[in-house]
Symmetry: D2
Amino acid sequence: MAKEFTHEIKVYYEDTDSGGVVYYSNYLKYLERARTEMISTIGLSNNKLLEEYKTLIIVKSCNIEYLKSAKLEDKLQIYSSIESFNKASFVMIQNIKKNDNLIIKAKVKLVTVNKDGKPIKIPSVLKKQFIN
Amino acid sequence: MAKEFTHEIKVYYEDTDSGGVVYYSNYLKYLERARTEMISTIGLSNNKLLEEYKTLIIVKSCNIEYLKSAKLEDKLQIYSSIESFNKASFVMIQNIKKNDNLIIKAKVKLVTVNKDGKPIKIPSVLKKQFIN
Amino acid sequence: MAKEFTHEIKVYYEDTDSGGVVYYSNYLKYLERARTEMISTIGLSNNKLLEEYKTLIIVKSCNIEYLKSAKLEDKLQIYSSIESFNKASFVMIQNIKKNDNLIIKAKVKLVTVNKDGKPIKIPSVLKKQFIN
Amino acid sequence: MAKEFTHEIKVYYEDTDSGGVVYYSNYLKYLERARTEMISTIGLSNNKLLEEYKTLIIVKSCNIEYLKSAKLEDKLQIYSSIESFNKASFVMIQNIKKNDNLIIKAKVKLVTVNKDGKPIKIPSVLKKQFIN
């Protein structure tokens, strides 16, 4: 079974819009921060992946549902887990909660590519660490 | 049949990331700009919708596929059309092209709400104008 | 003498541009996050200031020098202190360091206003807490 | 005397914050768009500057004054001119107006550097075109 990683963020002015809530594209920033921190928990980073494994992780698709809104100075928890692996891609489930209420549901497909953008095998270090 | 609206944008430094391409969440900004300009073509605006029709349009879900990347100073065309209407929601297809190549495919579900966030009937002015 | 507050941030993809460094306007986001966290250390928040003190803090001017650049996954320390107070305004010095090297120097003038944007006296709770 | 260049932008949701106005760092994006379009009027671009002249233009300092605020769907005019040239740097005055009212005053110092970030002589094509 997949492990779940939690990352907490706080909503700043930069994230909000004149509707009084977090602007809809900014949740994708939160999701990406959470993925970066998840990679960081296993001693990796985007920089290391590129330098040592010649690998970039890029987003192939993102399916995001906006259930409730978040506001200035809210604290949000992002729960991330890997749903499935393929040779050169994997699917993540990323949910965002505010006070235990689910506000964002997202399914993100990621692909591992080389510097030229060609899909390459997922480094085994990633696979091993993220599956029990 | 639904009308199609075109909006062109240019990629500036602010839109790119250190991967050398447009950052994945910024395409959602482009999509929203295109929706705003589409509303503008029928003499409306987000401000007018709120003041005269007490209506806000919010994004309920966004399904976006990243087919190819865009780079600094690229010119991109965003093609937007309404796929279907419901009482208080509608679904849009929004595609982004670069030199006639499809680079982004998106399906966006929008809901019309009042100031308190409650779904309300789509103003008929919107429906009439966007369907042939 | 003024107290100094430290806030640490990490550079994510969202912050960088295709030049490979943090985009120049994003440092202003970091500065604002640091100011928000500084206010938070004295039990206040932008929300509380608005609700309890009917006060908004807005930026009147920003003088920022870019000495060195920051890159993806850098950890940056933001040092903030209040240089001087006036009736309805105060000046902050905010410096950003990376590995003990000064990379950004900023001087920010802030004004306290009411909901209509009129300057109002700085709440004494702010003044008391931020000066020794 | 220096020529003045005008660039118009429209304020979208992405630019605003929950205070109901354009977020303070986003004006720096507008300024950079205006500089890019100014360069474009003389047949150049950031890409061309890099490829043909091995030159990047980076911001060394920015002094910005916020006089009035801009709101959703405002149309803003950005007036840009070069105040002075040095060997490897130049100073620009960039003002933003809304309905003929000055809302933003900015003074931006820019430096021409090579790929390694070392200051290099401003390409003469830039100097010639931007001074009468």
